[in-house]
């Protein structure tokens, strides 16, 4: 059930990437029902996340921050991270990756930056 809910909410985030104004009405749930990264600590996902990070994130965020913030020190919750990557951050140079990355790929990136295997 949690898995289904996670997929529905992730799909909602994708929809919001296509219709950015809708995202203004999205509110995070309480801590209890917040989305969490299902790939944390999984070696294969961390490796895949590393590859995606190198192909899409590194050029701005580098190994410890650069044009963008240091993602390896992020204080965003799992759900906030997913939402930021999918929807982008208006008013900054952070683009919306919702049409280029699947939620699972974003989770893998998140698993990578939260792992001990990062830069």
């Amino acid at each position: 059930m949690r898995s289904l809910e996670r997929r529905v909410r992730a799909a909602a985030l994708i929809l919001c990437a296509a219709l950015p104004l809708w995202s203004m009405s999205i509110r995070s749930g309480s801590a209890d029902d917040a989305l969490t990264d299902p790939f944390l600590g999984q070696a294969d996902a961390i490796s895949a996340g590393r590859d995606t990070y190198r192909a899409k994130c590194y050029i701005c965020h580098f190994s410890n921050g650069g044009r963008g913030p240091n993602l390896f020190a992020t204080k965003l919750t799992d759900e906030q991270f997913l939402e930021t990557v999918i929807n982008g951050r208006k008013g900054t140079q952070m683009p919306a990756f919702g049409l280029r990355l699947s939620p699972d790929e974003v989770w893998q990136v998140h698993a990578f930056i939260k792992s001990t295997d990062h830069y």
Binding site: K56, Y58, I59, F62, G88, T92, F97, R100
Partner: protein, 585 residues
Amino acid sequence: MHKHLLRCTLAAVGVAAAMLMGGPSHAGPVSTDDLMKAQDNGAEWLMYGRDYRNWRYSPLAELTPDNVAKMTPVWSLSTGGQFGGLEATPLFHDGVLYFSADYARVFAVDARSGRIIWHYEPTYEDGLNAMLCCGPIHRGVALKDNLVYVAQLDAKLEALNAADGKVVWEAKIDEWKNGVTTNSAPLVVKDHVIIGVSGGEYGVRGYLKSFNAKTGALEWQTYTVPAPGEPGSDTWPKDDSWKTGGGPTWLTGSYDADTNTLYWGVGNPGSWQSDQHPGDNLYTDSTLALDPDTGKMKWFYQYTPNDSWDYDAMATPILIDTTIDGKPTKVWAVSSRNGYFYVLDRTDGSFLYALQMVEGINWTSGLDPKTGKPTINVAMKPKQGAGAVQPIIPGLEGGTNWFPPAYDPDLGLFFVGVNQWGMGLTSWEKGKLQYKPGDVFMGVDYQMYRMGDTIGHLRAIDIANKKVAWDVASPLPLFSGMLVTKGGLLFTGDQRGRFLAFEAKTGKELWKFQTGSGINASPITYELDGKQYVAILSGLGGDPSFYYSAPKGGMLWVFAVDGKVDEGGFYNAQVIDKMLPTYKP
């Protein structure tokens, strides 16, 4: 603020901006003859490098070492937006300043009042920022007839009506979703609008394109990486690596009208894993000489074969007639990211000499004194899965970079910013790098390093005597272009936000003004109503913002000694009637 109110306010501001875009034309047409003789037109600044030689030398002499200390701001203007960094060279024609800000937003501003005549705001599809290796910066526009040409970041070339900023024609340069973007100022030669592309870090196959100035029709396209069977293809492996071979053309070139030759710099090869594409990889890291009417290559010179280090040779060649070893010689001079300053014979592309601009260069053990060809230090070439190679000097930002130099014919001095820093490169494990359109296609992780307390060096190079005439050190890297004047002044900016004037002959600092944000743009000077003005854009962004945390900004500053500003009727601010209607009882 309530979100609904915020949205209404933003919409109203948009309406107000549109109202400001009206106003009469101030600009007459710019003819081919005007562009060909731009060097003699002291009052105006008609193209990126002021003239086709790219000297950035003005014959204006009202401002001198004796009076520049009295120079003060006359007016300034915020470019607003998202403060993505300003790197443009403004143009000045017939009383109007034309310039681009971040995201290729174009402004036409009345130089007498600072009033925005019109403002062109491109709209972009979501996701474009992910394709901009170095931020949403933009480097300038071009003028011809009654049109202002701007290459948008999404690889679209727009011709705007100089009178009102409306789009007259649009041409698609390429598909940005494949990693091709554009941010340089086009070069207009006769009726050709010639534009280069960015994307060397995204696996593009670089090229130059020429569009008809009147219609926008594509005239020619010349690739910088040859297809199999074409000249130079034997410098690539017999596989598909040429298709993703890089060689972007992301700065503006030069033009020699006497020989009808276009000179254009070419960037690094893709990927950065050079052991995956062994060979010299022509025509990456080269300067090309081309026929501007056909795009046909006449000759080339390559500085860094099989580049592993991002040493783009895209820098604008500066065309100089000088004396080398006692002989009158037509040269092009260029300061490269690979740490050397080169002088070449522009009649045939042969090497004349080079000077080492950066201490401790270690990617090569030296250049052949006759050909300039480097002896590669293979220990400094990263290998797949072999760990970090460091420190490599210079770092990927280069001994120098895109910021334009200047040349003073009276002093025979070439002025350029040089940066002393290093880097580490780690090549990915074998098989990890896969080309996917729009993804970064580098194959290395990298880290820039400070190699000491001082990074920036403002240098004057004596071209004829092959030596550095003077050097002024700066703790932060220099990313601002140069302007030199017949009055004996050199203008540039620094990362601290200071706009500076030096005595060109000696490097003595004469004047400075704090603009409030780092300067990475290039100054110009012009004459208006008999008075010499100097203008510069200020706003940290782009590559320098990778390395320094400082206030972002976005301002155009205009300076003079006893300058005039016509405030009569000047206002860039207008009441938003819907938000503040006149009370009617």
